[in-house]
């Protein structure tokens, strides 16, 4: 994992942890991450979402307004181990 991917993952999981127990719409998550991560591209965002889902750090839920996300216990543990 590159340091940039690490930065994106930490910002993403932090945002979801702050939202718990509510799920966050992908678009809202992306716009918020863009403020934390300079020049975040949609591809980077999508790739990190996919990686986090694969590692079971986050869970996606289909809502009427699109895919939404929430953090899993494994994601919280990762954040604890990688606190700023």
């Amino acid at each position: 994992m590159t340091s940039r991917q690490f930065l994106i993952r930490r910002a993403l999981l932090k945002g979801l942890l702050n939202s718990k127990p509510y799920v966050v719409l992908g678009a809202h998550l992306q716009s918020s991450l863009a403020l934390d991560v300079p020049r975040l591209t949609p591809t980077e965002f999508d790739a990190e979402i996919a990686a986090c889902e694969q590692d079971r750090y986050i869970l996606s839920v289909q809502q009427d307004r699109g895919l939404s996300y929430t953090i899993r216990v494994e994601g919280e543990a990762w954040l604890l181990n990688n606190a700023a």
Binding site: N18, Y22, V24, L25, S31, L35, R39, R65
Partner: protein, 178 residues
Amino acid sequence: MARKPRSDAKLRNLPPDQRTALTDWLVDEGISYEAAKKRLKSEFGVSTSYGAVADFWQKECFSLRFRKARGVAEEIVGVMRESENDFDEATLTAIGQRAFNLAVAKDADVGELVNLVKVIGESKKLQLQSDKLSLEKRRVRMLEKKAAKLDQLTNDLDTDDGLTPEERLQKIREGLLI
């Protein structure tokens, strides 16, 4: 292109407890930059500028808008839970999620949501006032009933001359214990 923050930026290098406090003021309490600046000076003796607080918000706190949105949603759910209407958990969860989505939306007007909470709160106050009024009416009805009985007793005592003083006293006592 975003510039790397200066390593000597005062607010970014605050001790963790002071940094957390500043974040809480800005995110949870929603105080203005000017108020945060004054509070930093009065509580921690840290002199800073309006611009530095604004910069801190942009770089450190904006991502915490999720936390703020969650707070707004929880507040709304809390008010709904305590309202007279018996909302089930599924409804409360759905309302909370919708409120969260609204609050977190980039162009959302959090003030509108706060107004909604206030309206719900006002309706609760109205309900309490209505309950209080009902109790007051009941009290007045009981007092009227009691007064009518006392009037009746006075009439009886005035018209009934055959009563001994003890019997009259007994009747008065009974009347007062209605």
